[in-house]
Symmetry: C2
Subunit: 479 residues, 2 copies
């Protein structure tokens, strides 16, 4: 530990020793969350919520640009409505919260706190879609949902979480297909370009798809510990819900047809991904595009004449260019260094009396610890450029780590071995049978993450049963 760590009381667990505990330490000590009074719930504190706001605002903008309108549907679903689509209720019933009383009265019908809102949108579509003129109907909502999970972890799996859920209805299967893919593209763009997290894009297996969907597209990312995280999904719902809910439209020729639907969502899980992809032994490392604070200005010997004045002048000068804050609290500089490292602020700007004499400041990168001395005049340009460099380097580093943790195998022995020798993605061929997929999961704990869009032919045989291979699959243990 370097000298500057002196005086910083809180320590976090070694990430390579106990990754789960490191994660828990980081979410708490980087001031992202606190725990709620109900088991498995969390409080998003100002820093954690600001992070979510940055992700949300960019995505909201893209959702609107692609022609969707925001709406707000209710929190409660009558039990009878949830039961209308058979696969859907089977998938969700075991993990919902039930409202049984309102005020002092028992309700005639129990209400579910939404775990997702397909049935609410379907009920609405059935009443509001009449003709081809009403299509496509392109809705999105930002909402909280509740899933009664047994084991919970902040951001990754919590009883209640924040998300966005898109729900659309189209005239044809093909239009719904284009929409399903378009929204996966939007997610890819946000996760790769804003969060600097490389993803594998593909289709879920039948066994892993969304309850009630024809198929599910997914983006999968890889964490520091080699476990995968499903980072966004987009479902083609076909006409299944439309048939259950009787959602039809009159086409140009006067024929009644069922609509073709999609739904797609991303959640606060993405913050968990951010932490586990970029974080290091000193805490969080945030990509500049979503960092609530992009640079923290720390005065050295701030009690000395002129230091704070100069720092404030620089803050004022830089505010129009980047999201910058000045830490002029009475803590020691060392303490401040650690605190803002823990919070993952991309750049630290050190400014002391000697720097002022030399008309310079010292920039320190959070990701590489590299120090760069810059003249005060050059600061706005240097910072803007450095933020871009950090953003792009974080993506490159994550991509290299992902590739290094990806193993292509052609036998089940290799498959099982790689899970301990190099935990991460396993690329292997599959016969397409759910039985093989399930056997692999039972014997190794790894699940089929996706059938990637870009298929390679790694072998002619299924990695498990040896029969003719149909598809390449990315496998991994997953969050």
């Amino acid at each position: 530990m370097s000298k500057k760590n002196k005086g910083f009381v809180q320590q976090i667990t070694d990430m390579d020793g106990d990754f789960a505990q490191w994660y828990t330490d980081v979410v708490k000590q980087a001031d992202l969350i606190d725990y709620g009074p109900v088991r498995g719930t969390m409080i998003m504190k100002p820093y954690g919520y600001a992070l979510w706001e940055h992700i949300r605002d960019v995505l909201d903008n893209r959702i609107k640009q692609t022609g969707h309108s925001n709406v707000q549907f209710p929190l409660f679903i009558p039990e009878s409505l949830l039961q209308k689509e058979k696969d859907h209720i089977e998938g969700f019933a075991p993990e919902v919260a039930w409202v049984t009383h309102g005020g002092s009265e028992e309700l005639h019908e129990r209400l579910v706190v939404r775990p997702t809102s397909e049935v609410l949108f379907c009920d609405y579509y059935a009443r509001n879609i009449h003709s081809y003129r009403d299509l496509p109907m392109l809705y999105n909502q930002w909402a909280n949902v509740v899933r009664w999970e047994k084991t919970t972890r902040p951001f990754l799996r919590s009883l209640e979480f924040q998300w966005q859920e898109g729900h659309t209805a189209h005239a044809t299967h093909e239009e719904a297909e284009i929409e399903t893919r378009q929204m996966l593209d939007v997610y890819t763009e946000i996760v790769e370009n804003q969060l600097a997290i490389p993803v594998i894009r593909g289709t879920k297996t039948e066994n892993e798809k969304f309850a009630g969907a024809v198929y599910t597209l997914t983006i999968e990312s890889l964490m520091h510990d080699g476990k995968a995280l499903q980072s966004g999904t987009s479902h083609h719902l076909g006409t299944g819900f439309a048939e259950s809910f009787n959602i039809t439209y009159l086409d140009e020729k006067g024929t009644q047809n069922h609509v073709h639907q999609t739904s797609w969502g991303i959640t606060t899980r993405l913050i968990g991904a951010l932490i586990m992809v970029h974080g290091d032994q000193s805490g969080l490392v945030l990509p500049p595009k979503v960092a609530p604070t992009q640079a923290i200005l720390i005065p050295i010997a701030q009690h000395k004449d002129g230091v704070l004045d100069k720092a404030r002048a620089i803050l004022h000068q830089l505010t129009p260019h980047i999201r910058i804050q000045l830490d002029d609290s009475d803590k020691t500089p060392g303490w401040k260094f650690n605190e803002h490292e823990m919070k993952g602020v991309p750049i630290r700007i050190e400014l002391g009396p000697k720097d002022i004499e030399k008309n310079q400041a010292v920039l320190v990168r959070r990701d590489t610890r590299e120090k760069i001395i810059v003249s005060l005049e050059a600061l706005p340009t240097a910072l803007t450029q450095l933020l871009e460099t950090i953003q792009s380097d974080l993506y490159q580093t994550a991509k290299e780590k992902q590739l290094a943790k990806t193993t292509s195998v052609s036998s089940f022995v290799e498959f099982a071995a790689s899970l301990t020798s190099n935990p991460g993605f396993i690329r292997a061929m599959w016969c397409g049978e759910t039985a093989c997929e399930k056997a692999i999961k039972e014997q190794t704990g790894a699940t089929a993450r996706c059938i990637p869009f870009e298929q390679a032919s790694l072998s002619e045989h299924c990695v498990y049963c040896g029969k003719e291979a149909q598809k390449e699959v990315y496998w991994a243990k997953a969050y």
Copy 2:
């Protein structure tokens, strides 16, 4: 009915005949909402939600400018936590939704779906506030809350609604007092300047204050039918919650003290106020600052050569200046006129072949129906100015209506008479006794809306009991 109404099938109820039905017609036909499947819940459709987004974004900005941070607290409150503050639980217990089961299991302790979040914030503050350095703690959240109301109406009183709730903790009573007043000022500014709704500012009586507060400040507005609507409240919570939850801080001298708290909120009710203050016989009338669409461009004889091309060129030209849309659907112009009048779009721009020949467009104000012919070159300036004029005129008109519906009385006979002769605000002196306040409510249905900050001395005697008057009060029947 003018000729142009031909072909518009949907009619709304006469607002002076049946105001409640008029309101219900407008919320539906202006495409603001649909009803949810659970009694008393609503779906905010794209147009209604866009309106909320405009209000929310401006307010969110002001909340941040005044130093507050957004956070996100959980939806569920354990029953035991809600019971910690006695007045508070008494106020809210009769109207909460209870979660009793998670998945297939009955819960050990019932959970309340938050009706408001004071106790959650208090529980957090007790764990997170230690020293004077932690103060003030200035939090806000945007959230959905649930209140099990018997009688519901869209926006005005619904089982679930969207709102913002601020929760702050301070070192002293005075600081909390400044905060309570500051947020009322922010609400006043938003409601008067953005929504063009004049308000009466004041303090709630003891009987009408928030359950658990020392005092409640309020802004009260007056609807077209003479009923008042509480449009925003800001509560000084004193140390009551802090004592119940043991929220203390160590001051500079090393003494433990309870914190002084505030809470404040506005809700989607404000959309109800917008409708009922500015609406007319043709539907909604929206103030330009919050209108999702500020001007609607309607081509006349759009099948004729060059009309749509010109309309699209104008749309393109105006888009950087105002929120404008082109209605090039195949409906008749008359139908379009009615539809966008119903939706309250502040300005209609008519553009036909003859207008194009003369290099002009016809602007029609939604509020006054005034027609203004403008040369195409002058459009950006003329529209921007006209939007400002409409915004300011809407406020003036509403202010005049409010004043006309305000009666000062000095006897209870006058009080009772004015409720039928000129329904609206009644200004009258009060002795300060809850007994008088309750008797007035029982006998007239009017409640004490507020004790206005600007006090007048209308008489020396309480309007009900004749004893010495203590304060001027605004009374009204209210939503």
